[in-house]
Structures are given as C-alpha cells and as structure tokens.
Amino acid sequence: MLDGIQELLRGLPEPLGYVVWTVAKILAIVLPIMIAVAYLTFAERKVIGYIQVRVGPNRVGPRGWLQPIADGVKLLFKETIVPTNANKFLFIIAPVLTFAPSIAAWAVVPFDDGLVLSNIDAGLLYILAITSVGVYGVIIAGWASNSKYALLGALRSAAQIISYEIAMGFALVGVILAAGSLNLTTIVEGQQGSIFHWYWLPLLPLFLIYFISGVAETNRAPFDVAEGESEIVAGFHVEYSAMTFSVFFLAEYANMILISILTAIMFLGGWLSPFEGIPVLGELFEPVPGIVWLLLKAGFFLFLYLWFRATFPRYRYDQIMRLGWKVFIPITIVWLLVVGAAVVAGIGPWFD
C-alpha cells in the first residue's frame, strides 16, 4: 500500500510530491505520539491508583477507557485566562516553545531498521540540542505570567534542567565512545549479538545516570520541585489554563516517552530482539517486528516513571543539586575514562 501511495505522489510535480510524502511521514509519527500521550495520562492514573489500592478513573466509557478523551475535550473548551499585566505574546508562545522541541526531537528516532524520518549523521547531537531548547518555554512561561510562584518555579526548573543536562550529555558521550558514531541507527547496530552485547552492561553506571537524569530533565517525581504543589502551588504553569496548560502537559508526556525510547535505543539494543543468539527462542521470536521490542522496552521505562512517582517522596532542592553536580557528573567522568580504556584495549564482546 505504501508503495502505491509513493507511486501516486511521483505523479505530482517534483518538490510537491516530496513535501507531501514527508508531511505524511511526520503525521505517522506525531499522531501515534499524541495518542500515546493521552493514554499515558490514563495509564498513570490507573497504575498509581492500583499502587495506592484504589481503582483509578473508571467512569467514562468502558472501565474508564474514554477518560483521556473527556479530559482533552474539557481542556479544549475551557477559557484561556491571561493574567493582568502579563506579557501576552510571550505568555501564549511559551507552551508552544516547550511543545515544539519535544515533537521535533522525534525526527531522528529510529523505530526499526531503516524506519526513521531523517537518518542524519549527528542524530544524537541533534536530540541533545533540540531538547535543550525546551527549557525556554518553562523560563518564558514563568517570567511572562507576572506571578511570583510561576517565576520561582521557572527558576528552579531551569537550574535543574541545566544541571542534569550535563550529566546526561556525559552519559551520551559514553554511548558515542562505545558505538563510535553519533547516528542512532549505527548505535543500535553496534549492539547486535545478544542481550549481553547491549550497552547496558559495559555502560551500566551511565545507563542508570542517563535514566535518572532523564527523570529530572522531564521534571517528574521525585525531582518535580519545579511543580512542588506544597510550596509553590504548581510552579511555572500556575497561571495557565485550558489549552495552554494542556500543551505544557502534552510536552511533558511526549518528553517522557522520548526519554524512554532513547534509553531503550542507546542501552537496551533498540529494536533488537532480546532472544537474539539464543538457540531455540531466538528463531521462535525471529518474525516479531523490531518496533514491538522497542515499544516494549520503552513501555518498561514509562512504567518506571509511574512507579517512581507513586513510590518516592520529593527530593529537597539542595539534594537534587548535590546529586547532579557532586555525584552524577564525577561518576560519568570516571566511567568515560573506563570506557575509553576499554575501547582502546578492544575488550569484547562490545568493543572488539
């Protein structure tokens, strides 16, 4: 069917067909993300509900399955209130500035061998750069709201995101060293072999630091001081309502999914089957498409996000800073030296 559509588009004049085809590919990525975000909020409420021995939302639709749609419709039809003396232009554009990078980063994410929108050379660098732009939405939202709580939340959030970005970047340098490439497809191909060829084993400290930093980067519990209901009400988005608020929410959940998928790609072999190299099971699971494995792995990390939120108390602000600067960054630097030495020595089965 895809070939048929491509054939049809060839009939169009040259740049037009290309543009239409690319837009179709973008939609094929963005629409599932939006649906995933909607049902991630539902999953969060259900999972946390069951962890706290409650049922969670179960009123809208069969067993509550239409809850996210009801929430979306409600947010769409509410009124967007702009606070007095707020900078209206910046106030409106701030949610867009968080949302756009969280979607744009997906352009280089490979879902299967060759199933990627743009297979660029410096894919990992692109993701780092684009996700680092998202912090502007938070800062501008806090500043433009003309509210003390919002500004405090924005400052906390910005300081936290910048601190953890360093640890995250260093963890990624380890992956780059191990794979010898910035291209995400090449990184996954470098992990071929078996479950023990994946990078989680040689890069174990970096793997843990990357995921924990990812939780901090997305401002999720236990690092959600930027929202901190008990101290600063809701942080940077306290003045936002209706659609502007839900765009912040969409960005946060899209970022969570992105971090989960990236962790799966870089440390757990992406679309590679976990049964690869095992005599009978490996052949048995051969026909399973790679994207299923990738989504399963990402789903595991998403569950961890929800599990963390239901389990851990919130970190104190100075403890967050200490963990980022004094614990994570030194560990990553030391482990970079270890990985570098291992790559030079050609220690197998990862680096030979």
Binding site: S132, W143, L182
Partner: protein, 202 residues
Amino acid sequence: MTFEELVFYFFSAILVFAATMVVFIKKPVHAALYLVLAFFSSAGVWLLLDAEFLAITLVLVYVGAVMVLFLFVVMMLDINLSPLREGFARYLPAGLLIGLVVLAELAYVYTRDYFGPERFPNPGHHPEDYSNTAELGSRLYTEHFLGFELAAVILLVAIIAAIALTLRPKRMSKYVRPEDQVVITRKGRVKLVDPKTDKTEG
C-alpha cells in the same frame, strides 16, 4: 532562485532582523530572547554550509546553556532603565564620534577587495558520505592538537579562578551536610531516659 537560496535568505533575514532588535529593543529580557533567535537562525545558515556539527553545537551550547543562564540573570535583576538613559545629550558627541570611526573603518575594509562574492565563492557541497563531525574531530586532534589542548587548559584555569573567587572557606549559612546525615545512628540521636516517677508503694 533555488530552494537553497530561498532558505538562505529566509534565515539571513531573520538573523539580521533579530540582531538589530537585540541592539534597539528596550526590555532586556526581550533583547536576550532576540539574541536566542539570532543564534538559532545563524545555526540554520551554517547547516547550509554542510557544517552540521558546528550548527548543532551552536544551538546546544549557546541557545541551550549560555543564553539560559543569561536570561536567568536578566530576569532576576531589577534593572531600572531611567538612570541609564541620563546624560544622553552629554555623551552624544563622543558616541557619534566613535560610531563614525567604526563606520569608517568598516567601510575602508569592505571597499578593498578583501570581501565580496568573487573572493569567497560558494564552497559547494561535499560528497554524500562526508561527515562534518568526523572531519572536525580528526583535524582538531591531529593538526590543531596543541591549540585545542591549550584552549582547554585556559578554560580550566578560568573555572578554577571562578571557583577560587567565590569559594567561602567558612560556611555562613546553616547547611545540612549529607555526609553527616548518612552516618547518623540511633545512638547519636535518641536518648532513652527512665523518668523516676515518685511512686509510693501500696
């Protein structure tokens, strides 16, 4: 006009506009945001030169980190602009003179034939398998190794200097030491007392 030229003019127009606004806009926060826009559009122009590593690093370092800290500071400061504008007429002649000198210098250099499209022709595009990142890495760590390492050492000195300047040897504020917190035992915190109650027998 090819598509590439269209993209070039698009980014360049935004770049020139944003850079002008950085200078002329009155609110500091807006000026900082326009600077972010300028960095972003110049990254776009660099991408057209096949310099994807430099373009992405520009966004990563300047947009993602430096300008965030800048904004941070600008938002925290409560700058009152009116005293800054005082004495405008007094400084005007000196400012105009300096401006004219700079303009004359620029005009002098620019009217020689150091610049212009014929001096700097379009470098064209690299072959399909060219990797800007790999190329830059191998150049930096072979040909320009010494300069690169020297720059790194200078930055390290700057970091140490900044820390040395701001380091307070004595803690002025109350602070919880995590290393003390984790070695706490029950013995150090809880003291069990056995209150002697005045019980009379019987």
